[in-house]
Amino acid sequence: MYKIVRKKELNPTVTQMEILAPLVANKALPGQFIILRVDEEGERIPLTVAGTDPKEGTVKIIFQIVGETTLRLNHKQEGEEIADFVGPLGRPTETEGIKKVCIVGGGVGCAIALPVAEEFHRLGAEVTSIIGFRSIDLLILEDEFKACSDRLIVMSDDGSYGRHGNVTVPLKEMLEAGEKFDLVLAIGPGVMMKFTVLTCKPFGVPCRVSMNPIMIDGTGMCGGCRLTLVRDGKRITKFACVDGPEFDGYEVDFDEAMSRGRMYFPYERHAYDEACNLFKQG
């Protein structure tokens, strides 16, 4: 069992937890993820590591309440325990040789983008962060990004905070103005990453994306997280859990990945509604 040491609501739909898992805390690097089960009958869900405290032995996770499992997780309180917590899984972010980086985060993806931005900052790279949210109510981690970014641009889809528009707008402006990034790293919803890649393409700037497909074991065993890279006209199958989660954005077949992500939508809606009812009664 793994104890929830601290719990904090970042906004009405996004929660941060610090979980006691010393072996994972000792090893996890930015860009890697964990898999957890809330309780004995629960499903296994992957969540990217949002930070670690190796001394305390805790791992920080940030999750959006989108389905049954995250709803159940959010019902756990500080001091309570969750059944399983395994990691770190996947490959860490490649930082070598990157002197100037643009981190593009969308929604709860910002939780994953933050430790990556912090790592680049720690390594002495010049960090530009563009973080986008639907609306001011959903804004998270602004101060944290400020602390590790040489330049921070906050965007909101509805104009309720920061600049009005989506994250590709300032990115395009900067690239058009002649900014030369060694890397643009996009982390967020599939459609946001797809359009970040399309924005980068005319400028030939290297662009990586962090994929978050459905998976079970996280060790390469189930193959459920497979996605397609298109390289030199050839379609190559990769497993996000062991080959990723970060991939060259120019190679990822986003439409296929997004379609696969919707495989259990009808089931998930049903399960979420059932769980909501359960907690209302409780």
Binding site: L23, E41, G42, R44, L89, T219, G220, C222, G223, A271
Partner: protein, 469 residues
């Protein structure tokens, strides 16, 4: 006394009934059947059956105890060399091992050794009261990677000799393929849990949620004071066919399909882990895993389940018994056929149609058997122009697995072959001192009992290595 020329049949659930539930298919011998079957054993002096057993169980020895109705005594004979008798009695391919060597089998049907082993193990689990006694510790620490058949066996043998054994398991539950792969109706999970409990009574520690190669490395295990490591990490990586359409929703590897149903209990009425079920299901492949996947799909409520296999019935690699069970339950065998493309639904008028991107069929080509290949198996050859389409709502690909690369990638000096299998000598020793390996991580996908045999060989070698250190 006239000997019964035939093996006593295994009582089983009726096919029409069992096709709709996940309860165990084979019900096990009764006391009377067990005694009658034991009476068929000739107790040969040269014991050919023992040579056919990868873990060298004293087969006539335990059967003589059954004859005497000393079932606990029989269990103790088996327990001397096997750590998982209730499992082996169910999933071992006895027909190609011990029973294939049985003297009775020369003229008649061989003794039902597997069925008797199962009876004895089940009797013990139901009636034995005493706990397994942990022996006096010998002061040595051994780490086992993976709680599957090879790891559990290696752990059991070492624990019985007084080693402090820790098993590190990547998943949340111990058992490996016994819990994620083999379905409940063939191997009830309670039986695996019981075998793991017995190991714990012997003092074996099981740490779940530890991925060796990620959470800890082999080198770190040595730093933590383990003096030897056994790697039984299995053949985790599913193979795909690399044909168009394998990424459509509803196309599963057998690993994923079975893991969802078995380990994640998607077969329950209101599961937390979803699985696609119902409609028409096509399973590609002809091994035991393909049979398990097909029969699982049927029990989940599919209206039709078919197996697509590129060779003929005679070449099916699955156990005969599993194929017969599948046929009885109504699984359709589409033999001498090979998939060339998986077809997906696409509504050109509505990109938001919820059915878009889901599998809807499979294009297959008919095959004929040509010249034998280097292994002597006749090679399947496509018949030009014979392609046609099958409908499908779910496709499960069960064409084998490859060894998992996580450990190879993080362990310096660990030699692997071109298939990714860890290279070992006859004692299970790898290219690294103190690191042993066995099971599918070495051989690629094989049987539970061969993995157990490898775990046993390695345990003996580790014992010798550490005793002389």
């Amino acid at each position: 006394m006239a000997l019964n020329p035939k093996k006593n049949a295994m009582p089983s659930q009726e096919p029409q009934v069992r096709a709709h539930n996940f309860n165990e298919v084979a019900l096990g011998y009764t006391r009377e059947l067990a005694l009658d079957e034991a009476a068929r054993c000739l107790n040969c002096k040269n014991k050919p059956c023992v040579a056919g057993c990868p873990v060298n169980i004293d087969i006539p020895g335990f059967i003589m105890k059954v004859k005497e109705e000393d079932f606990e005594g029989a269990y103790q004979v088996i327990n001397k060399t096997s750590s998982l008798p209730a499992v082996c009695g169910r999933v071992c391919p006895q027909e190609t091992q011990c029973e294939s060597k049985c003297t009775m089998g020369i003229k008649f049907e061989p003794v039902g050794i597997g069925r008797l082993e199962r009876y004895v193990a089940d009797w013990h689990n139901a009636n034995a009261t005493g706990k397994a006694q942990a022996p006096a510790p010998n002061g040595h620490k051994v780490a086992i990677v993976g709680a599957g058949p090879s790891g559990l066996t290696c752990a059991g043998d070492l624990a019985k000799k007084g080693y402090a054994v820790s098993i590190f398991e990547a998943l949340h539950k111990a058992g490996g393929v016994l819990v994620y792969g083999i379905p409940e109706f063939r191997l009830p999970k309670a039986i695996v849990a019981k075998e793991v409990e017995t190991l714990k009574e012997l003092g074996v520690e099981v740490a779940t949620n530890v991925v060796i190669g990620k959470t800890l490395t082999i080198d770190e295990l040595f730093e933590k004071g383990f003096e030897a490591v056994f790697v039984g990490s299995g053949a985790g990586l599913p193979n795909f066919m690399n044909i168009p359409g394998e990424h459509f929703k509803g196309v599963y590897s057998a690993n994923e399909f079975l893991t969802r149903s078995n380990l994640m209990k998607a077969y329950l009425d209101d599961p937390r882990t979803p699985i696609m079920k119902g409609g028409k299901v096509i399973v590609v492949g002809g091994g035991n895993v393909a049979m398990d996947a097909a029969r699982t799909a049927l029990r989940l409520g599919a209206e039709e389940v078919s197996i697509v296999y590129r060779r003929s019935m005679d070449e099916l690699p699955a156990r005969r018994e599993e194929v017969e069970h599948a046929e009885e339950e109504g699984i359709v065998f589409r033999l001498l056929q090979n998939p060339v493309e998986i077809l997906g639904f696409n509504n050109p008028d509505n990109p938001r149609d919820e059915r878009n991107g889901f599998v809807c069929g499979m294009r297959v080509i008919k095959m004929e058997l040509g010249e034998p290949d280097e292994k002597g198996r006749r090679r399947p050859v496509p018949i030009p122009g014979s392609e046609y389409e099958l409908e499908a709502d779910t496709v499960v690909i069960a064409i084998g697995t490859s060894p998992n690369p996580l450990i190879k990638d993080t362990t310096k000096g660990l030699e692997v072959n071109r298939h990714g299998g860890i290279v070992v000598n006859e004692d299970g020793l790898t290219s690294r001192e103190g690191v042993y390996a066995g099971g599918d991580a070495v051989t690629g996908a094989a049987t539970v009992i061969s993995a157990m045999g490898a775990g046993k060989v390695a345990a003996a070698a580790i014992d010798e290595y550490l005793s002389n250190k």
